[in-house]
Amino acid sequence: MSSVTHDDVLGHGHDAHHHHPTGLMRWVTTTNHKDIGTMYLWFSFIMFLVGGTMAMTIRSELFEPGLQIVQPEFFNSLTTLHGLIMIFGAIMPAAVGFANWQIPMMIGAPDMAFARMNNWSFWLLPPAAVLLIGSLFVPGGGAAGGWTMYPPLSVQLGMGMDMTIFAVHIMGASSIMGSINIITTILNMRAPGMTLMKMPLFCWSWLITAYLLIAVMPVLAGAVTMLLTDRHFGTSFFNAAGGGDPVLFQHVFWFFGHPEVYILILPAFGIISEIIPAFARKPLFGYASMVYALAAIAILSFLVWAHHMFTVGMPTAGLLFFMYATMLIAVPTGVKVFNWVATMWRGSMTFEAPMLFALGFLFLFTIGGFTGLVLAITPVDIQLQDTYYVVAHFHYVMVAGSLFAFFGGTYYWIPKWTGTMYDEKLAKLHFWSSLIAFNVAFFPMHFLGLAGMPRRIPDYSQQFTDWNMVSTVGAFWFGLSQFIFLYVVLKCIAHKGEKAPGKPWEGATTLEWTLPSPAPYHTFETPPVVK
């Protein structure tokens, strides 16, 4: 990527002349991309704590065999809502928060293309969260069929399922509006000279993610709409009793569900692609190939959905196709991992917290990727279907992948957001504590899965006890470690730390680092010149 300069940084700081509501109304009515980004990030962290609390309850129940803390029905609701909240309430809004804060500043735009729609996209989320969490307290309890909402369970459940369906509709609408905004901003609002192939990789990752969202979110909305009409309006899309096909739901769901995995991980790839060059003090190795790899991953993600359902019964040709197509995704992913490593090769590396999280991501995401390859092999997957091996695999991808990248991204950009450097010692403690605790919590799940322990059960055979105890200890350790992160962030917001310079990272080259820290409320009202 070529170097960037701009002409008039100081001309962008109009805070002193800008009048906007203060207090609560500022946040309700704001159309500023930075305010909305902040709200997305706080919302996602709160939902992360809510989903995390559910995870702690699940792990407490699984500490030893037998039923100790919760009833099986409530346990099922917890596993269902933990998944939905973490995916739709925590990871996706966090990625949109990063997009809101960073994309306009990285492409030299004054704001998002549709600022009011941006506000609306965010404010749809809290009611959806209330519906999801509130479903636990209605007669019949929350949705309990797993986050995949498979029929026939989802057709038979009580009112909690309806609330979940509406929550998914609302969150889907929010995501689609956000995606339209991001695509329009990137394609139409780039600074003069900022060609697509000069764009920071984080923006590329979000451009492709937004296209994925527009393609698959409506499919999920369609699927849950059919579920709703099956439940209340006498249709039989998925209801076998009326001639419907429950397996069809699985096909439609995973047509959304597999690209969704990449929707969760591609923005993380983008963040890592910004951090590694900055701390290796070298340009990103193979920029163009990184862009094409992102596009290849996105296209392939549409062709592999049935690897989630090898056990439902399909023709051998179908099994082989989906097995090989899934394995094919390792090629562009391998290109990305190779390029990140090649960027570090002979770089002048330093290991501040963002870089540590990037390296942690690289190491652990690769483990998650390899276990994904194991699961891609049809006969192996049939053995491991619905075991804890699958739980271990996707937590290595989602937690050590997306979440570690978001922590790294927060430490990387928080000097720009708050104008204060974070506490490096505490941030490093957060990293090492999270890294070790994460592996203590999730690595034993591979052993449990290989030994045959099924997922989504509140009780288990005695031979699984030891590793479950280890896993529970690790989970609590990991959960508590996140309060270090919260403390570090609050310290920055309270400006308890060293004042951040405009460009705190020597190797950072993207446009936002040409702005003062904290970034003024309005930036790039005069477009910068990109060479």
Partner: protein
């Protein structure tokens, strides 16, 4: 001359706004097609028809997206 210079940024902003709205409508219509398509396809035909419909729309979307990016370059 002074008048035309004075109106240029406004025209530019208006042109950009129209382009933004046009693109947003295209994207929203794609989303609507997918939403309605997955339901209608199930009504009209069986599983094969439905999945083929969605698959074809996905490919058209990707071709459209790639072609548009190439043209912009």
């Amino acid at each position: 001359m002074a008048e035309s210079l004075g109106t240029k940024p406004v025209e530019g902003a208006e042109r950009r706004r129209r382009a933004n709205v046009r693109l947003a409508f295209i994207l929203a219509s794609i989303a609507a097609t997918f939403f309605a398509g997955v339901i209608v396809a199930r009504y009209v035909g069986g599983m094969e028809f439905g999945m083929s419909f969605v698959g074809v729309v996905a490919l058209v979307l990707l071709v459209f997206a790639i072609a548009r990016n190439l043209r912009d370059k």
